[in-house]
Amino acid sequence: VTVPDPFPRLPHRAPFLLLDRVLEIGERTGVFMKQVAAADPCVAADGTLPAAFVLEALAQGGGALLSAITDDRVPQPGYLAAVDDFHVLTPPRVGETMRVEVEVLRHFQGATLLRGRALVDGRLCAEGRLTLALPR
């Protein structure tokens, strides 16, 4: 059985694809989920998902959202260009489902500023602002 790739335009693949499913895509917002599993090599020895991978999940959510709301058919390789005010309150743990929410705040000259949040069971785990850029 071939399972359709929910993120055909993201270049990331397991184990560095840090999103499992698309929950919602709106005009400026996207919601995604990731199940934090013990077998995930990104999980730390203490059973938490480290801040760097939470941040990466937000960035991948941003990339997936931008891919979905732009009409370019050829995937553009973007990159995480800047991070502001990012902080982790409580890192997601093994067995928890992380909800990734991203919102486009501003787009200008090939760079997009997004707000990202990671939640578990409605509890805010991490948040920050990210800038994604497409090289010209």
Binding site: A82, L105, G110, A111
Partner: protein, 87 residues
Amino acid sequence: MDRATVLAEVKDLLVKGLRLDRAPADIPDDSPIFGEGLGLDSIDALELVVLVEDRFHVSIPDEEVGKRAFASVAALADFILDEQGRR
């Protein structure tokens, strides 16, 4: 605000907001903001749009307006004064 005040605030915003390694007073009025002027790039442009809109309550809706507003430090001050004068 008069033009000199806006110019001074723009330079202060550029230095503090974009963490430039120079004093505001060392930035010439006619200095281009991008490229060889202050050496800023497209990531800085997005950050500057957000900073200018928040600080001066003006709108830079697209790249065409941005190109005009960001032609130089003085052009940005004049753009802000023009936009504020329309209100």
